[in-house]
């Protein structure tokens, strides 16, 4: 019994998604939970899994075309089932022209197509007049590409310049000289999303930076003690997140956002915890940190980090953050500044813990070796000013340096 | 008023120049050499000459679609005028304006105008400039009986009156606005009466008597130059030809043959001055004939010369649209 695969709604605010890669081909055997394709939303890239077993009978949408959620993107069914009607209905929903030759092997979404496959499928034209933009024609003439061989990815399936260029790159020998010049990868997908958001943040919010050194010796001791008890393993990061959240509870001035000319002081304290992946920095959000105790928090942070590394985070896991902590301590970075993650208005950059000789502030000044960690807080100076930051950092420093006075387990 | 011979001769010569210039236009037009519409002022010479001689070279005039007379009386060059009428590049306006838009800014001629009443606010503005600059210049605004019923006439008289602008609004009432008689068009017979509505003085003059036009305009000019504000003068006159060349039978569709004949034979301004000068022994018939022949010759020669002038080239089309 054939079923539709639809564009899934993966978050409260998601309205559209774009397939950026089909992992299965038409007519391939699908098992439940197999990954069918990768889709891009405005927040991240996610995988879509099959919910049923069957054959991927029909792929309904182009790579790169934004599709509203709940609309069909593919059909899985039995090998010999007649799915004509289903296809027609699906296309109607998508408001597309029905492709007549559905029996032909149209495997157009294979990323590295061979010449043979193309020459079979593309001799067949769709119903109606094939629209080609003037710019595409110009490019095709310039590159010597046969327009008849192209499929359009522009609005209303118009063949546009990038269709010509990508066809050319996939099928023609790219002269060695251009290859020698550089190793190029397109600036797309998650990288682009992250990059654009960072740019926008930096150019919109006037960033001001405040650094303070914290004596983490006592916390280091505490962590060592917990390590002996594996199940209750609590990391430095957990301590940090916990402390920050509780200081924010006391001093909520940094837990805010500037949205549409209003400064919103969030009731919830949701801390974003930056996790480094190969393709970029992911910031899953731990919600309501202030309501958790240290142990629950630690379980949550581990869970999130694992999900992130497995690329299994859902869009709801990234939204709703009110403050972010970025820790590069494990890479020996002593000091760095972070860019605020909008719409938050502050981010804490945490450096590595180093053993350093310091002058202790006891009654008689001595030099001791202590574990010192530098942190730098970036704030949006439109809505947060120096005095408040100073107060916050002072309190944070105190709580971390004297955990015994602060933590009650 | 005593008129000396020099002045009277000047008046006569100017009127003869205008008359023969216009007759030359009739001729060229009949031969198919002159393009476009011609609106001729034969019969109305005294108005142009009497008024323009009463002002200085520096003073301004604005004219109408029937402006050859005004422009010649203000001192325009005949050759350049013929060239303009023939669309030549050497014409006053480089062939771009034609009969209805002839201008010579150096003589204060701010242009003939193809729109009825179009020049009235412009003359008002010229008067305003004189007032602001304090240079004692004045502007004479020529317009017809038809324009006296147009909106801008009323707006301009009102404005000139309240601001006391040095403008003489000179209505050349030839009694017909194209084919409609003044009697049918106007709520009032003497246009000069409208001056009352704008709190300025209004004078009626005999437009066929160049001396009367001259003396009345001179009076008005001196008042205006003193800063006492504008004056409305109505010169009653008559055009001997039709509204334009091509108006059937010189306007007989709307004017009786009898009426036209009457004015031509009994009220010609040139005949009148000629008669008066001869009677006063300031001129002999032979002298008159010589003067006229000489003027005719000048115009003939000028025309011949102009015929060989070049026309504008295609590349001239976009020239003079904007000042750089």
């Amino acid at each position: 019994m054939a079923t539709e695969v639809v564009m899934p709604k993966l978050g409260l605010t998601m309205l559209k998604g774009t397939v950026i890669k089909w992992r299965k081909l038409e007519n391939e055997l699908i098992k439940k939970d197999d990954i069918l394709c990768e889709i891009e939303t405005d927040k991240a890239v996610t995988e879509v899994e099959a919910r049923v077993d069957g054959i991927l009978r029909k792929i309904l949408v182009n790579v790169g075309e934004p599709i509203p959620v709940t609309l069909p993107i593919a059909i899985i069914g039995d090998k010999n089932e007649n799915i004509e009607k289903l296809i027609e209905e699906a296309y109607q929903k998508l408001r597309k022209v029905k492709i007549l030759e559905e029996t032909s092997k149209k495997d157009k979404f294979i990323s590295s197509a061979t010449k043979e496959k193309h020459s079979i499928e593309l001799k067949k034209q769709e119903d109606g007049f094939k629209k080609i933009s003037p710019r595409a024609r110009r490019k095709a003439a310039e590159l010597g590409v046969d327009l008849k061989l192209l499929r359009g990815s522009g609005p209303n399936q118009v063949v546009i310049e990038k269709d010509v260029i990508s066809y050319y790159q996939n099928h023609y020998n790219i002269p060695k000289s251009t290859n020698r010049a550089a190793n190029k990868i397109p600036y797309i997908g998650m990288r682009k999303i992250i990059g654009d958001r960072l740019s926008q943040s930096k150019f919109t919010a006037p960033h001001v930076y405040f650094s303070v050194s914290i004596d983490m010796s006592k916390i280091v001791e505490l962590v060592k003690n917990f390590e002996k008890n594996d199940e209750k393993k609590i990391s430095i990061n957990d301590f940090l997140i916990f402390t920050v959240a509780n200081v924010l509870l006391e001093q909520p001035y940094l837990n805010c956002s500037l949205i549409n000319e209003e400064i919103i002081y969030h009731k919830a304290i949701n801390i974003g915890m930056a996790v480094a992946l190969e393709e970029g920095l992911i910031v899953p959000v731990i919600k309501n940190v202030n309501k958790k105790n240290l142990f629950d928090l630690s379980i949550e942070t581990k869970r999130m980090a694992n999900l992130a590394r497995a690329r299994k985070l859902m869009p709801d896991d990234y939204i709703g953050g009110t403050f972010t902590i970025s820790n590069l301590g494990m890479y020996d970075i002593e000091h760095f500044t972070s860019i605020i993650n909008p719409p938050e208005s502050a981010i804490l950059a945490v450096g590595t813990i180093q053993k350093k000789p310091v002058v202790t502030k006891k009654n008689d000044e001595k030099i001791e070796i202590r574990s010192i960690m530098k942190i730098t807080l970036s704030v949006d100076h439109r809505i947060i000013d120096g005095v408040k930051v100073a107060k916050f950092l002072k309190r944070l420093k105190y709580c971390l340096e004297f955990p015994e006075r602060f933590f009650n387990k | 008023m005593i008129y000396d011979k020099t002045l009277l001769l000047r008046m006569l010569k100017l009127m003869l120049t205008i008359r023969n210039f216009e007759l030359n236009v009739v001729d060229l037009n009949a031969k198919g050499i002159m393009p476009g519409f011609m609106h001729l002022c034969i019969g109305e010479e005294a108005v142009a000459v009497g008024a323009c001689l009463a002002i200085d070279k520096d003073d301004f005039i604005t004219s109408t679609h029937r402006g050859h007379g005004h422009v010649i009386a203000k001192g325009a060059n005949i050759e350049k005028m013929i060239a303009e009428l023939l669309g030549k590049k050497e014409g006053y306006c480089k062939g771009k304006g034609g009969s209805m838009h002839i201008a010579d800014l150096s003589l204060g001629i701010l242009g003939a105008n193809g729109i009825v009443g179009g020049g009235i606010p412009i003359a008002t503005g010229a008067g305003l400039s004189a007032k602001i600059k304090g240079n004692k210049k004045i502007a004479i605004c020529f317009f017809g009986d038809g324009a006296a019923n147009n909106g801008v006439f009323h707006e301009s008289l009102n404005l000139a009156s309240i601001w006391k602008l040095p403008v003489i609004f000179l209505c050349e009432n030839n009694q017909y606005a194209l084919s409609t008689s003044h009697k049918l068009n106007s709520s009032i017979n003497d246009i000069a009466e409208r001056a009352k509505a704008y709190n300025i003085s209004g004078i009626v003059v005999d437009g066929m008597d160049v001396k009367e036009v001259y003396s009345k305009v001179l009076d008005a000019v001196s008042e205006t130059r003193k800063g006492n504000g504008p004056v409305l003068i109505e010169a009653k006159t008559y055009r001997f030809l039709g509204h334009h060349l091509g108006d059937p039978n010189n306007g007989e569709l709307y004017r009786s043959k009898k009426e036209i004949k009457f004015w031509k034979e009994n009220r010609c301004p040139i005949k009148k001055l000629k008669g008066e000068m001869i009677a006063d022994k300031l001129l002999t018939i032979d002298e008159f004939n010589n003067i006229e022949a000489s003027i005719k010759d000048d115009i003939k020669n000028a025309t011949k010369k102009v015929m060989s002038y070049p026309l504008p080239e295609s590349k001239d089309l976009y020239c003079d649209l904007f000042t750089k």
Binding site: P155 | G91, I132, S156
Partner: protein, 324 residues
């Protein structure tokens, strides 16, 4: 840098030019003590007096015509029409006289005339006080057409207009008068015929006129977050028009949206689009989209009126139609 209102920027330009040059004067309705209905001339009567700030009766044709006459006679008048909707009342003086006098006189006349007025709907002022019919002036050879979208451009462009020896129709926008923007203290002018690229982008070119420039900028900021890079171009002057800047931009982006507050049919958007088709057809990826007012008189009821004012949603929709 200091921030001042658009209306203040205009006032500064007027004041500074009036101080610099005694030939500059203002003429219009209610511009004296009242300061003009949009307060642009506030304080100028006090400083310069009735001689150079001339408040007139309701006589649009004569206001423009008088200013025109003064301009031809050597002054630099700036006349004000209360709303662009009153422009037709002065139609002859603007379109048949001012626009053409330089050309018709073969270049003899110089016409340094500025006509200031405003466009824009949104005040429930209904059909006769809410239009943006600047396309009429663009369709008339001989008039320059200027539309500043912010205080900086307003001051610089007005100064250039006052010092230009040609008729300039200077179009302010009712809703921009209270817009604040950075304006330097030092003297500066902005040349005509130079478009301003208000935001650089790579995906779609938006050419916007007057107040729509600011709306397009807001849209570009919003769409940046969606990964769409919008290039916003403000032509600033429609005559003369910087067609190269727009063509080069479309060659880069491949997509064009044009936004203007005038009526859609035969409007500004069509001309701009057509010029791009002439210059950059083979660089287009998709049909050009126009954002303009619907072809109906502006209704009174505010919710209906809103439909007649192109807004950010319209611009965004047009952009998305282009690029999908």
């Amino acid at each position: 840098m200091r921030e001042i209102f658009y209306v203040e920027a205009l006032r500064e330009a007027l004041r500074e030019e009036m101080r610099n040059n005694p030939d500059v004067f203002l003429i219009g309705e209610d511009i004296g003590d009242y300061g003009g209905v949009f307060k642009v001339t506030e304080g100028l009567y006090k400083e310069f007096g009735a001689k150079r700030v001339r408040q007139t009766p309701i006589s649009e044709a004569t206001i423009v015509g008088t200013a025109l006459g003064a301009a031809i006679a050597g002054m630099r008048p700036i006349c004000e029409l209360m709303f662009i909707d009153f422009l037709p009342l002065a139609g002859d003086q603007i379109f048949n006289q001012a626009a053409k006098i330089k050309y018709m006189t073969g270049g003899q006349a110089k016409v340094p005339l500025v006509i200031r007025t405003n466009i824009g709907a949104g005040r429930a002022a209904a059909a006769q006080h809410s239009q943006s019919i600047h396309a009429w002036a663009c369709h008339m050879p001989g008039i320059k057409v200027v539309l500043p979208s912010n205080p900086y451009d307003a001051k610089g462009l007005l100064k250039t207009a006052i010092n230009d020896d040609n008729p300039v129709l200077f179009l302010e926008h009712k809703f921009l008068y209270r817009m604040k923007g950075e304006v330097p203290e030092e003297d500066y002018t902005i040349p005509f015929g130079e478009a301003s690229i208000k935001n650089e982008g790579t995906d779609v070119t938006v050419v916007a006129i007057s107040s729509l420039v600011n709306k397009a900028m807001n849209v570009s900021k919003k769409l940046f977050l969606e990964g769409i890079s919008v290039e916003v171009i403000d032509p600033r002057t429609l005559i003369p028009y910087d067609r190269d800047a727009v063509a080069n931009s479309v060659k880069k982006t491949g997509h064009l949206v044009v936004a203007d507050e005038g009526y859609m049919n035969c409007g500004i958007c069509s001309e701009i689009a057509m010029k791009v088709i002439e210059d950059a057809f083979f660089y287009l990826e998709a049909p050009i989209r126009r954002v303009a007012a619907p072809d109906v008189p502006v209704p009174f009821c505010p919710s209906l009126e809103k439909l007649c004012i192109p807004d950010e949603k319209d611009i965004e929709k047009a952009i998305k139609l282009c690029i999908g």
